[in-house]
């Protein structure tokens, strides 16, 4: 095994949080190295360059790693979960294949114990993160419309994506019902922004943006971090974090592109591998001193996994709408976000309104839903669906439960022989009641919009696979893995900055909050550099 030159800060993972923390710490002029197991992405490789762009969503750009199966991916045993894991392994991580929907968590999400008597409060609140949300919005480049009564004030630097025919159709239905709606915030550039071109409506944004209008950290944070002196090394898959005789992190052992093993020493190690990759790495870093996995004296590493159940309700209207020729994210509604115990559950959900799909995906998804027949009737039914689709996602708050967890699979390994993660996850009764409430409201909306052929997919399709909660933040070392500024209770030079540290998940896409938390932790580290390990 070769030894590398010592660095001040070693960041493992270059996705949403790793990029943000690298950029923020760069101003310290410390020697910072990031190890990423995947490659840099090229815009010419993204599917919308080719005629097979829709089919590639089910191949090399599938959001599910087991299906995608790139050699930079690791397998995940999700057999014991109704929901699948989504990720991407490359520079930019999950931001390469996210939808770029950009809600923040609400202030109440951080205080669910105090406000609603469930789960636990975060040790920090929304207001501690507010300026980092703002900073991150500027860095990622957010398009949106100020003045939304559904969320706390924010100031998106670009105007919103047009409502289009589909958004207007939803808006009329929501006004008939008298319910809240607003154009969604998104990290899709609607104007030229910091070197990025504006959106030209290439279709569903999930499998990467050939135009570069969608903010992924390979084109936002990373160019700036590298210019400021951070080193990013790709095709480096970390096997374990090692510790020294004092119980401090000593560095990491990784495999390079040729499979050669290296040891990378570091003064500080920051883990940014997402809510599945991070507990996997910590559990794979067990040693004589840390027999149950690194930083796991609480036993909570891997526990409290939150995946955001996300039913999708769709239907078809007579009017011809936008189809798939625009970003799928369109509007949100916060009408049912905050707790109202008369509904029979605590916490709530965001309704997320989507545009349609391209020709092939319309056919594939409606066939899978049992709505598009095979045979002579195929064409007639298809023409009633294509460009007539409306669909609403119910983004449910997913409260933490210890039995929902990530462990190491006893048999499954990645291509380097590193034990793979195993997911055990069940949807709680509270969340199921929330899901059914949301499904019923979505059906009301679609009916008010004149939609027919309503169909609900509870978990099988369009599962977001958000990965949260598996190394939770807290002030009590017996009830949490990291403290209120991201440092592991057990290892004082080991930090975690990704969605693992979430105490609760809210009812929103988490990337905005993941990055705000990463910037907050980086800021805390900078303020404490003189006594970081005290």
């Amino acid at each position: 095994m070769s030894g590398n030159e010592r660095v001040d800060v070693l960041i493992i993972g270059s996705g949403a949080s790793g990029a943000a923390v690298a950029w923020s710490l760069a101003e310290t002029k410390m020697r910072i190295l990031c190890l990423e197991q995947g490659d840099w992405m090229k815009s010419t490789d993204f599917p919308t360059n080719g005629r097979d762009w829709e089919a590639r969503r089910y191949g090399d750009f599938d959001i599910f790693p087991n299906r995608r199966g790139r050699d930079t991916d690791y397998p995940v045993n999700d057999d014991n979960s109704p929901m699948k894991v989504a990720n991407f392994n490359g520079v930019g991580g999950g931001t390469v294949i996210y939808t770029a929907h950009w809600p923040r968590m609400h202030p109440s999400d951080f205080k669910v114990k105090s406000l609603d008597g469930v789960a636990d409060d975060w040790p920090i609140d929304y207001w501690a993160l507010e300026r980092f949300y703002e900073e991150n919005d500027r860095m990622m480049g957010v398009s949106g419309l100020p003045g939304d009564p559904g969320v706390p004030p924010r100031n998106p630097p670009m105007p919103p994506i047009p409502l289009g025919k589909t958004g207007s159709h939803y808006g009329r239905a929501m006004n008939r019902l008298g319910w809240h709606w607003w154009p969604s915030d998104t990290t899709i550039a609607t104007t030229p922004y910091e070197g990025r071109a504006q959106c030209i409506n290439l279709g569903h944004c999930t499998p990467g943006c050939a135009q570069g209008a969608k903010a992924s950290t390979d084109i936002t944070y990373w160019p700036l971090a590298i210019r400021a002196g951070v080193e990013l090394r790709t095709r480096c898959r970390v096997r374990e974090i090692t510790t020294d005789e004092h119980g401090m992190a000593a560095g990491a052992i990784y495999y390079d592109a040729d499979g050669k093993e290296h040891f990378q020493p570091a003064e500080v190690v920051i883990v940014a591998c997402n809510g599945v990759g991070t507990p996997r790495l910590l559990l794979n870093s067990a040693s004589g001193r840390f027999p149950n996995g690194l930083a796991n004296s609480s036993g909570l590493v891997g526990r409290n996994l939150m995946l955001h159940p996300w039913p999708m309700i769709s239907g078809y209207v007579e009017e011809t709408l936008d189809g798939g020729r625009a970003p799928i994210t369109n509007l949100w509604s916060k009408q049912f976000y905050e707790t109202d115990t008369s509904r029979g559950f605590v916490r709530g959900y965001t309704l997320q309104f989507n545009r349609g799909m391209g020709p092939a995906n319309q056919a594939i998804t409606s066939a899978a839903a049992g709505q598009l027949p095979w045979g002579r009737d195929h064409h007639r039914v298809y023409r009633e669906m294509f460009e007539h689709r409306v669909g609403i996602g119910v983004a449910c708050d997913d409260l933490p439960e210890e039995h929902n967890r990530v462990t190491l699979d006893p048999g499954l390994k990645d291509s380097h022989g590193i034990p793979a993660p195993k997911i055990d996850y069940a949807i709680s009764d509270n969340t199921r009641r929330m899901m059914e409430h949301g499904i019923a409201r979505a059906e009301e909306i679609l009916t008010a919009a004149g939609a027919k052929r309503l169909f609900c997919s509870r978990t099988a399709l369009n599962s977001p696979g958000h990965l949260l909660g598996t190394a939770r933040m807290g002030s009590d070392p017996e009830r949490s893995v990291v403290n209120e500024w991201g440092r592991c209770h057990d290892v004082k030079n080991l930090f975690i900055v990704d969605g693992s540290v979430f105490v609760t998940g809210g009812g929103v896409n988490p990337t905005s909050t993941i990055q705000a938390v990463a910037l907050y932790i980086a800021d805390q580290m900078k303020q404490r550099l003189a006594n970081l390990f005290d």
């Binding site: 919308t48 762009w53 191949g59 202030p107 929304y126 969320v151 207007s168 391209g358 294509f386």
Partner: protein, 150 residues
């Protein structure tokens, strides 16, 4: 039978099945999925789904598909697809993925036969006045500072 591609006999079976799944429609001016160019695209696109597609073809053949009339063939495919088995779903995905990128099919749907990039598409602004009904409403979100100060 090759290990990495369908055999000639399997392609013949696929032609029959694909043509049943998505038949030509002269009135709409669209070919069927058994059209030679589309079939070739399907075969070329199977890739990682080869084991599942091969299994689907075998399962369909095992149910005497070849001896059935057209109505019964359609019923058989629809029945099998309703079971949501991985093989038939994979077969359907591959057939549809290739069919709905054929130039003739797209043009019949009044779509441009091209990749989305670099030209992109136009999205109209829509009716922003609809938001007037929402603007100015009282905040819906809970302010934890106010509630916890009580």
């Amino acid at each position: 039978m090759g290990n990495d591609s369908l055999s000639a006999a399997e392609i013949d079976a696929l032609r029959e099945i694909a043509g049943t799944m998505v038949p030509a429609d002269a009135a709409l001016g669209v070919p069927g999925a058994d059209d030679p160019a589309i079939l070739a695209d399907i075969v070329k696109s199977i890739g990682r789904d080869l084991p599942l597609v091969r299994k689907a073809l075998a399962e369909i053949a095992a149910r005497s598909f070849g001896s059935l009339d057209r109505d019964k063939r359609e019923a058989l495919i629809n029945d099998m697809y309703a079971s949501r088995g991985a093989p038939i779903v994979a077969l359907g995905r591959v057939v549809l993925g290739a069919y709905y990128r054929d130039d003739r099919v797209l043009l019949a749907l009044k779509q441009e036969a091209r990749a989305p990039f670099p030209k992109g598409y136009t999205l109209e602004q829509g009716d922003w006045a609809l938001l007037d009904a929402v603007r100015g409403r009282p905040p819906l979100w809970r302010d934890d500072r106010r509630e916890l100060a009580k």
